[in-house]
């Protein structure tokens, strides 16, 4: 037995069981025969086994340095530390598809264990098996992780050094894929719901899935931003790079879906919107992979070079056509039961969903526009960050305004009692903005301060209201914390307001200075006094590091580095970031005297409030976890709680 043999066997088995499962579940639906469904269900764990075997085979090949596999030869080297080797399966295309396929089989396994009526159960399984057929089909044909080389090299090049420079890279892709794959379950339920004309219950049945997927997507994005900040050495966390946009688009659509799904769960409304949003959110995950993996970003012409791009494009079109095609067929029959006033909670949620999906549309257009220009006129253009910032700022303000007021609005129509709260919120917004303006901040940053106060007050008011309702019902006010959905979503909302504040300040105020220092020379800038003590070289086996020794008055000794990897011709900067509640101090070694180590060119980037972006990201994950945390029995029996 070799890794290649085991891997190919695993992929083939997973593909065969998925194909068979797809056929059986379709038969079960068409014939209305429970035996076929039973058979299809029995195949789910077998497909998992195939996927697990293939994944183990890839790890095995990497751990035993089996360079006869093309994937290992291209992405692994004898020098790699153990943790890098273990995460190498998702360092490149083929392994990422394998990870995706493995997670898909696991999610299918979990989803198939939920009790459901046989018609919908067959269709849900059919859709999930269909997705598995796509991924394992791609692995079996055009992007095999187990393709072998006729002349294996003695050592490989190792994964892209950028991926080895920070442990976050081990985490970020897995979180993203867990999120992407998680959206496949609500999508499958939605397709089944549309085909069987049972339009209401699917959002309730998949609400955990939606939340889990959203939580993973959010943590994955924040992890990616952090990685970009700590590794790429440009002192930023978001560049509106097409790869970033590709994973931002599904997040935006999933967020829109999360909010309209809440309305359908509680009020039975927005059924059509939910079908549309879940289809688009799932399709966007495939589109994102197409964008990042087909090479179309570099040039439209790269698209035709590999078969992976067209395969993903085809899958994207099929998934979209299936969801929206069914929707157009049934939209005549769907009736939203509730009528609502635009100035109600439903109204705010729908408007919020429009903001999120409109934002997604803008990002899609901005990302694809250069491709259109190149395809039609041949000119090479790129859409700069200023465009995205310009269009995103007003959308963000709209969302932040809705986020504060929306949860305070009653369902169906506005009531007079909320006027007091609205006045309070408006005063917080104006007061915060004016005070910040008076302190000399820019309009944008001041507005962010106002919006942060406004949203913090809104969250406070909602907590107070919830606790009062508990007391009126003769319960302890603290029992409001058991209303996990409400409390968790308030935590997330507060975190979003905090993140917006961090983004506004870090984007507005940023100081970047650069200077060449000679040994012993001191430099005082941005409130930091530093002296350059010389450079030191370190041989770390897989790489060679050069660090500048800086003694500073505030942070002790700081050692920014340059890493030289044998497979890269230019060194990678490894910044030293010092987080403080106010500012981040980001030290970079740019260049140094290679002969005597007498001088070094250093860059210092001082950015305010970046720390709070990461804190907010953690809070968003915690808030989601708070909602998902299994409720105590007492709470479950009590049922829907007041406020």
């Amino acid at each position: 037995m070799t890794p290649a043999l085991l891997g190919n066997l695993g992929v083939s088995l997973a593909l065969a069981f998925s194909l068979l499962g797809l056929a059986l579940s379709l038969l079960a639906y068409l014939q209305g025969d429970g035996r076929f469904l039973k058979g299809a269900r029995a195949l789910v764990p077998l497909a998992v086994l195939g996927a697990v075997a293939a994944f183990i085979a890839l790890e095995w090949a990497l751990l035993t340095h089996d360079f006869s596999l093309a994937y290992v030869a291209r992405n692994h080297s004898l020098q790699d530390p153990l943790w890098v080797t273990l995460v190498t399966p998702w360092a490149a295309l083929e392994g990422s598809i394998l990870l995706w396929g493995l997670l898909q089989t696991l999610y299918t396994l979990l989803a198939s264990r939920k009790p459901l009526d046989p018609w919908r159960a067959s269709l849900v399984l059919a859709v999930l098996f269909g997705i598995q057929v796509f991924f394992f089909g791609v692995m079996a044909t055009i992007a095999s992780p187990f393709a072998t080389l006729p002349n294996p090299p003695a050592d490989g090049t190792g994964p892209n050094p950028l991926l080895q420079n920070h442990w976050m890279m081990a985490v970020h892709p897995v979180l993203m894929y867990l999120g992407f794959v998680g959206l496949s379950v609500p999508y499958a339920y939605a397709v089944a719901a549309m085909a069987t004309r049972s339009y209401q219950t699917w959002v309730e049945e998949t609400r955990w899935w939606t939340l889990i997927a959203w939580g993973f997507l959010t943590s994955g994005k924040v992890a990616g931003m952090w990685w970009s900040y700590e590794v790429l050495g440009w002192g930023g966390y978001w560049a509106w790079d097409p790869v970033e946009n590709a994973s931002f688009i599904p997040w935006l659509l999933a967020t829109a879906f999360l909010h309209t799904a809440y309305v359908q769960q509680t009020r039975g409304a927005f059924k059509t919107w939910n079908f549309a949003f879940v289809t688009l959110a799932f399709a966007a995950t495939v589109l994102g992979t197409f964008l990042t993996r087909s090479g179309i970003i570099q040039s439209v012409h790269a698209f035709a070079e590999g078969p992976v791009g067209p395969a993903f494009l085809g899958f994207f079109l099929f998934a979209t056509a299936l969801g929206l095609g069914l929707l157009s067929r049934v939209s005549r029959e769907v009736r939203d039961v509730a009528l609502f006033h635009p100035f109600s909670r439903e109204g705010a949620l729908l408007l919020g969903a429009f903001f999120f999906s409109g934002w997604a549309l803008v990002v899609v257009l901005g990302t694809f526009y250069p491709l259109l220009v190149e395809a039609f006129s041949g000119a090479k253009v790129s859409v700069g960050a200023p465009f995205f910032n310009q269009v995103s700022a007003p959308i963000g303000v709209g969302i932040l305004l809705l986020m504060g007021v929306g949860p305070l609005l009653p369902w169906r129509r506005p009531r007079r009692e909320i006027l007091r709260n609205l006045y309070l919120l408006l005063s917080a917004l104006l007061l915060g903005t004016l005070l910040a303006l008076l302190r000399g901040y820019t309009l944008g940053a001041s507005l962010a301060v106002g919006l942060f106060l406004y949203n913090t007050l809104a969250v406070g008011l909602l907590f107070a209201e919830g606790m009062r309702a508990r007391r009126m019902a003769g319960l302890s006010p603290l029992s409001f914390m058991e209303n996990r959905k409400r409390v968790g979503s308030l935590i997330v909302h507060f975190a979003v307001a905090l993140m917006a504040l961090g983004i506004a300040f870090s984007q507005t105020y940023r100081l970047e200075v650069e200077k060449t220092l000679y040994r012993g020379q001191a430099w005082e800038v941005a409130g930091v006094r530093m002296a350059f003590q010389g450079v030191r070289a370190l041989d770390e086996g897989r790489r060679f590091a050069v660090e500048a020794l800086l003694s500073t008055d505030r942070f002790g000794e700081v050692r920014p580095r340059l890493h030289f990897y044998p497979q890269m011709q230019s060194p990678l900067p490894a910044p030293r970031v010092i987080y403080t509640p106010g500012n981040d101090y980001y030290f970079l070694l740019m260049d140094f005297d290679r002969e005597k180590g007498e001088w070094a060119s250093l860059r210092l980037i001082v950015t305010p409030m970046v720390l709070w972006i990461w804190v907010a990201g953690g809070l968003m994950a915690l808030g989601t976890l708070y909602i998902l945390w299994p409720a105590s029995r007492r709470e479950e029996t009590r049922g829907v709680s007041p406020a």
Binding site: T272, Q298, S299, S331, R332, F354, S357, G358, L361, V362, L365, G366, Y369, P370, V373, A379, K380, V381, S382, V383, G384, P386, F387, Q390, V391, E514, K515, T516, Q569, S570, P571, M590, D591, W599, S601, R603
Partner: protein, 142 residues
């Protein structure tokens, strides 16, 4: 039902109009060779462009104390003087393909972002290359 579709279309049209008036056109950054740039200077005056070409031999001057890098960017036919504030990137050298993002000021192209174009198949260009060949070389390198 028709109302819903109408609303959807309105939202999409609104977003599109916003994009266009929001200045997608103004924020496009064109990728040009020095020849293309010099042929239509007025069009690109005072807006950022990405200028791609080769670092001309014998023109590189780097002052590490002022952190100023000066060189001439060429595509074989036309030449543009470039001033880059900051250290030269790792693989910057004469004859190398580079892309500079910036704008023209007082007869010098002032670049903020300097990228060295390199790929495994990159070969230094030969004498007498046309701007099209230079452009292709730089576009294909990552």
């Amino acid at each position: 039902m028709r109302g819903k579709y109408l609303l959807g279309i309105l939202v999409i049209l609104g977003a599109l109009a916003y994009m266009i008036f929001g200045g997608l056109g103004q924020n496009l950054v064109y990728f040009l060779t020095p020849s293309e740039y010099l042929q239509a200077q007025d069009k690109y005056q005072n807006r950022p462009v990405r200028l791609g070409g080769l670092v001309k031999e014998g023109t590189v001057q780097y002052d590490k104390d002022r952190l100023e890098l000066r060189f001439v960017l060429t595509d074989g036919v036309a030449e543009v003087p470039v001033l880059h504030k900051g250290t030269p990137p790792g693989m910057f050298k004469e004859g190398q393909g580079v892309v500079v993002e910036g704008r023209f000021r007082e007869g010098v192209f002032q670049g903020g972002n300097l990228l060295v174009k390199h790929s495994e198949t990159y070969q230094p260009p030969k004498e007498g290359w046309t701007p099209e060949e230079v452009r292709k070389l730089i576009e294909e390198a990552k």
